[in-house]
């Protein structure tokens, strides 16, 4: 298949169309504007609906409504816009409605700036909105993966009946890279048992998240928790690089993982035994793998473009079995491969010094 050069945002938008997206609502914000721009032209061509809503809150509630009607839906935004959507994301999770939500993270807190950042890890992974819910969170690290995981996100949203987050950032959103427009065979998910399709010939249905009956909410919560438990068993995705002989393992996701990987390759050329574990799903987190690695190595180094968020999950999984170092740069600045190389170089050098003592 031929490669095409695409911007990250465009890859998300076209992949969504290929995956059968039929309803998009959103509100503009940099650095994800090419997604609505592209879909405003493209979606009507395939019989879909594009709406630029009056606000993020309106957009995500339109998503709720359209998903309840059984069609494939998506919204996209960037950090402060996602904050506005959180109430309805909690509702979507509670109502078990499939939806794809793209967050091309920018620098925060507050209005921050438009540079790339990874400071919404907690927001995406730990809930963000209210209540005991989780989201399936994919963190692609290339334009190719934005394409592939957008398609997978639609499939998983329907299969698992859940909102799915694509957590990208300003760097992979804005850059162009060659993409193979792979198309897996799409599965057909029967939504006739729950979707609101007009009550002809059947009793009427209500999709609601207000559960006032005695014990009703607790029962529903246990059902959701059971679902999340199954994700931990079946949906974890990650990639490893050079970890077989490594004494130090870097853990990084998304664009930080890419930048770390090129630094790691350079360090390996100098004979340093260092590898990379890259979680692709941030929830469910590859905690079991980290636990196993922790028994064999001396040190993890977590690299994130925030002040330290995923590092907490790494520490939980490591559970004291090895050291966990952290190199983080808060959002809003452009972090180069040289910066990461220098940091990793120092942190591995320290180890060599300690070994001599």
């Amino acid at each position: 298949m031929n490669k095409v050069l695409m911007k990250g945002n465009e890859a998300v938008a076209e992949a969504a169309v290929q995956a059968g997206l039929k309803f998009y609502a959103g509100y503009p914000i940099t650095p994800q504007n090419e997604i609505p721009e592209y879909l405003s032209k493209r979606l009507p061509e395939v019989g879909g609906v594009f709406i630029q809503a009056e606000s993020e809150i309106a957009a995500i509630n339109m998503i709720y409504g359209a998903s309840a009607c059984g069609v494939r839906v998506m919204t996209s935004s960037s950090s402060p816009g996602i904050s506005l959507k959180l109430e309805a994301i909690s509702y979507l999770a509670a109502a078990e409605l499939p939806a794809v939500i793209v967050n091309m993270m920018r620098g925060g807190p507050g209005l921050g700036n438009i540079s790339g950042s990874q400071a919404d890890y907690f927001q995406a992974v730990k809930g963000g909105g209210h209540g005991d819910y989780r989201l399936l969170v994919y963190a692609p690290f290339s334009v190719q993966e934005l394409w592939d995981y957008t398609i997978l996100a639609f499939e998983k949203a329907d299969e698992l009946r859940t909102p799915v987050i694509i957590l990208g950032d300003g760097v992979i959103a804005q850059m162009m890279e060659p993409v193979i427009q792979r198309m897996p065979e799409l599965k057909n998910f029967d939504k006739s048992s729950w979707a609101l399709t007009g009550a002809k010939g059947r009793p009427s249905r209500i999709i609601r998240t207000l559960l006032m009956g005695e014990g009703e909410l607790e029962k529903h919560n246990w059902k959701l928790q059971e679902k999340y438990k199954q994700w931990k068993e079946k949906e974890v995705k990650y990639e490893t690089y050079f970890i077989d002989d490594s004494e130090v393992v870097v853990v990084a996701f998304g664009s930080a993982a890419r930048i770390a990987l090129s630094a790691i390759k350079k360090l390996r050329q100098q004979g340093i035994k260092i590898g990379l574990l890259r979680p692709v799903t941030l929830f469910p987190f590859p905690e079991e793998l980290i636990r196993q690695i922790a028994q064999e190595i001396e040190r993890f180094i977590v690299v994130e473009f925030n002040a330290g968020q995923m590092v907490e999950d790494v520490k939980l999984a490591v559970n004291g079995m090895s050291e966990v170092y952290f190199y983080g740069r808060p959002g809003g600045n452009i972090i180069t491969a040289e910066d990461v190389y220098e940091a990793l170089s120092n942190m591995t050098a320290k180890e060599q010094v300690m070994a001599k003592i």
């Binding site: 050069l5 940099t30 700036n113 804005q174 850059m175 162009m176 890279e177 890419r258 090129s262 491969a337």
Partner: protein, 179 residues
């Protein structure tokens, strides 16, 4: 081998397009490539830039701090990015618009009368394509044929005239330097 390019000038000089043609041509040669624009809060009259990285393997960062090649189209960009060329790197600039005053002696400097050459063929605003041709000759990073093919593919067929003009400009820039 990873090669990093910064292309800079002001809005409207075809900075992003110049980068796109390099990226496309590199892709045609089965290279890994990234193209990254300066985006968002740009200042009117300020600099626009893009960064292209070409490599044989997965590229770590699309963001270029130190460049192997700097292509500049205006004085402000020249001043801003000059110090970011690696020793023995290349500076290619539009000598019709820029005065080389920095005096770095540790890099290869190639002045190109790009605006002047472009005006002889079509229009001084198309200096970017002259510089592209010169860049291809000097860097040997992409093949001239792939750049020409790219032009034929990414400019819409209905603007056939522009395709021909761009090709002419690239070839002219290419011919300005000896092998």
């Amino acid at each position: 081998m990873e090669k990093r390019i910064i292309i800079a000038g002001s809005g409207g000089q075809g900075i992003l397009f110049l980068g796109k043609v390099i990226a496309h041509a590199a892709m045609k040669q089965n290279k890994e490539v990234t193209w990254f624009p300066s985006y968002g809060a740009e200042i009117r009259g300020g600099t626009a830039n893009c960064m292209v990285v070409v490599s044989d393997e997965l590229i770590g960062s699309p963001i270029v701090k130190i460049a192997d090649y700097l292509i500049v189209l205006n004085q402000a960009s020249y001043n801003k990015f000059m110090s970011r060329v690696t020793p023995n790197g290349y500076l290619i600039y539009d000598a019709s618009l820029i005065k080389n005053s920095h005096g770095r002696t540790d890099i290869n400097i190639y002045p190109v009368e790009a605006s002047k050459e472009a005006s002889l063929i079509a229009n001084p605003k198309l200096a970017n394509m002259i510089l592209l041709g010169s860049f291809i000759k000097l860097s040997k990073l992409i093949e001239i044929d792939k750049a020409i093919e790219t032009i034929e593919e990414i400019i819409p067929a209905k603007r056939k005239e522009m395709i021909e003009i761009n090709k002419k400009l690239i070839l002219r820039g290419f011919s300005l330097f000896e092998n």
